[in-house]
């Protein structure tokens, strides 16, 4: 059972750009300028960017930020349960701001990663033959395939 905090307030401007207010502290993690901008990008660009993707985008607002800091920020956000890290095989890690329980479908044709939720009422542990005594801390469901748009 996870508790969700209202970490961000989204509002639309007249010019359709999106403003995100991010509080000073989230889940006990101090929101420095770097962490705030990294988190903002994940909120806005919800296509599971890599650390390098985030690095390139964040430079618009913080030209002096380093890639190491982006990794540090992402790790801090992951550690505090504010974002999720998503891995496909041996590819670069990707990052996801969607905290609801979901899996990932990787479309081999376009490379796009789609969030996939479980059908209502489904508990993954129920459909698996777990070893007796297993306490599940985390689940990852990854799918590969194609999206046929007939």
């Amino acid at each position: 059972m996870r508790t969700y905090f209202p970490v961000a307030m989204v509002s639309k401007n007249p010019d359709h750009s999106v403003e995100i207010e991010i509080s000073e502290e989230i889940s006990g993690l101090r929101m420095t300028r770097q962490r705030r901008e990294v988190y903002r990008i994940l909120q806005q660009q919800r296509n599971h960017p890599t650390a390098n993707d985030v690095f390139m985008r964040v430079k618009d607002r913080l030209p002096n930020i380093s890639l190491a800091t982006v990794y540090n920020c992402l790790e801090a956000l992951v550690q505090h349960g504010i974002i999720r890290q998503v891995n496909f095989d041996r590819e670069s890690s990707r990052y996801c701001p969607n905290l609801s329980e979901h899996g990932h479908f990787h479309d081999a044709t376009t490379g796009v990663i789609h969030d996939v939720s479980f059908k209502p009422g489904i508990n993954l542990a129920d459909v698996l033959d777990l070893p007796p005594g297993a306490i599940i801390d985390g689940v990852e469901v990854t799918l590969r395939g194609k999206l046929v748009t007939s």
Copy 2:
């Protein structure tokens, strides 16, 4: 729908050691001495070893084999659907000879990886809200947690 080939014959000797006969060719892949020994180790040591684990063990029988060759063999076996590659986050890849559809439970206490099968009659695609038109080629289910042996 996957077709299974009878790739190995297992027999026990009087001294309880295990002999494995591996055919000359599997799924169109030529079984060289190196590939045969790599595959034999995966069959015998069913604890999802890393490439380096396999490398260390295979040197008993092929003292001159190189790590690159172990990687090449593992890749060839994976490519031909004879074994599976298993990844946990950013850890080293592990290899699994169990071709039946199954997931992996990683016990954080012992480090042991347990194969986890789906309950009979369960089709994972049925419990997921897939994007319309999605054709699933592969599924990966990974669990982390503890095994309480009370």
